[in-house]
Homo-oligomer: 194 residues x 4
Amino acid sequence: MTKDKILEAAIHQYSLHNYHGATMQKIAKEVGIKPASIYFFYKNKEALFVAAFQKLLENHFERMQTILEEVREKPILDIFATLMKGTVEYHKNNMNETNAYISLITSPPAEIKKFLHEHMNKFDAWMIDSLHHLIKRDHPEKSDEETINLTRQFILLLDGIFWEINLYDDEELSEQIEQALHILDILLGGNNNE
Amino acid sequence: MTKDKILEAAIHQYSLHNYHGATMQKIAKEVGIKPASIYFFYKNKEALFVAAFQKLLENHFERMQTILEEVREKPILDIFATLMKGTVEYHKNNMNETNAYISLITSPPAEIKKFLHEHMNKFDAWMIDSLHHLIKRDHPEKSDEETINLTRQFILLLDGIFWEINLYDDEELSEQIEQALHILDILLGGNNNE
Amino acid sequence: MTKDKILEAAIHQYSLHNYHGATMQKIAKEVGIKPASIYFFYKNKEALFVAAFQKLLENHFERMQTILEEVREKPILDIFATLMKGTVEYHKNNMNETNAYISLITSPPAEIKKFLHEHMNKFDAWMIDSLHHLIKRDHPEKSDEETINLTRQFILLLDGIFWEINLYDDEELSEQIEQALHILDILLGGNNNE
Amino acid sequence: MTKDKILEAAIHQYSLHNYHGATMQKIAKEVGIKPASIYFFYKNKEALFVAAFQKLLENHFERMQTILEEVREKPILDIFATLMKGTVEYHKNNMNETNAYISLITSPPAEIKKFLHEHMNKFDAWMIDSLHHLIKRDHPEKSDEETINLTRQFILLLDGIFWEINLYDDEELSEQIEQALHILDILLGGNNNE
DNA sequence: GATGAATGAGCTTTCATTCAT
DNA sequence: TATGAATGAAAGCTCATTCAT
């Protein structure tokens, strides 16, 4: 559908050139229509991007949910590993969308700020809740506080890896993931691996 | 000096609106001159921003060096804590410049890419080298491999905290820093909880 | 059609002020539109003028063909006279376009140079061929070499007259045309006029 | 002297880009000074170009006088030939100045029009007078009218050659000069081929 | 649904010029 | 003599948007 193609093109152009650089011209060209036609579907540029950003955030959320769903039967350390590697892999393969996501978070247009905040809260709550539950499943001996802390620590490490996607090449990044997983192993009490 | 004031205004406007939104008009207004005057000092917008980005990266480097210099006499865990808190504090107080820095790293203009890469390498090498040396000082019993791993783990946690500056409010961020320091404590064998 | 009117206005402004002085503003004003509208039809100023110059040269060619067509039944000396007078008359009445043509030939913009050269060759070949044929018609006794020389001599005299349009007023120019025709009369062997 | 160098640079830039394209910037650069410095010598751009054009015309006049001076002892047909070849050679070697001269004549800036007209009259009178005298010297049998006509015819052919400098390459131009000299030979009654 | 044609606003940039030094 | 610094004006051009078709 044209309306969706416009949305995707908008995200793509935003990832390449940011809001001011993502012109209606470029978006239209990517879709294969004329700029005037966009106005049939969206009132103006602002409305288009509000829609585009919402889609972007929903995509991101759904993707993380899918990754988690696929590994929830495995032991918790494997889940941690898969989430990290899955995140990296996805972002390496979708640098454009990732950059758009980062741009959006670091300098969100005023119109989307409220929506963005709600999204981040929802996402955070979901992640903490899901992981909390899974950790408990494998480590019923841990207290609630311990479990929550572990969740937070995982998220911290995941965020570290996420940011380093921008900084390191593949090999270095793999090493950093190993470091993260090693830390998680220790935190889970598995450092008695000997 | 006008030339420097233009550079600062360029960084500021870039942090607020990104490259396309940082117009010569706005930059000139911030300096208190007319747009045409900018061209006396810089050939064109691109040249101005190449200069601005170089300055931005150098600022960032110098600042980290300063922070480290001020705490190098303290024990290593304090150094870790100070570096993290110093980084967060600086960025919280200079959100504009931080956002400019993040923008620059996540979507660097083609002209600055080479310079950016060199900078990141230099910065990384300096950080690893400095921390390596300081860890050795306090923990001479650790092997080189252990020390290097520890350095990498610290950097990973620091990057996590850095990215979370964008996501969390002050209180949550403090908690995350605590988590990070707790992990580092464990990794240093501090609370060998046994 | 707007697109054609823009072309004509471009030629006119070029004839008045040369390339740098023929501003999009002035061209638009002459057409009765806004400058931005020109860019709907032509990519930029350069593209507009490439098109304009091509049209100018084609106009010039067609005009000369028309003049020749109208007199081809008359004796050769009359043809010579008509071509000369027709050229002068046209140029006197269209000084702007003539000046544009002269400007174009004396300092052609780089983009049109190739096209210009091809045009001049085509024009030259056509003129030599046409005249050659007509001279033969009236003077079958002349050798091919003589005919070709005569053609060249006519073109030389025509070029002299063409340049003198810029130098002399009407009366003096008429005298010079008389001189030219007198020479041609002699060259055709008609100097036994007494 | 700087003042003269500015003048020369102005002529050169004018020949390359016409009045509007000959910027103070470019002129200054060619001289090796800053644009502001030009204003010490000339009130403004217009004043500079009035001076430049006057110099250009004087140069042209002097050059023609020099050429004539060098050959005045030879027979008249040689003088004709030398004038023509000298003109072509000079212009071929100084295309820039020639183009400036042509530009000036075909579209003179309003301020110089009066001066230009006077110059052309003076130049014309000088040429007719000089040639008239030299033809008489070699052909005392010719009437005044014949001599004047011959002068005019020579000028006509010279103008034709002059214009064709723009149109033809070296070889074709040489041929056209041969044609012109052949005509002049006939007009002088030289090869009364019968 | 889609677009050709048009435009006001605003962008980057150049230009001639000024003036204190 | 010469220039560093500055600017008003205007250049070429882009952009979001409109509207009749």
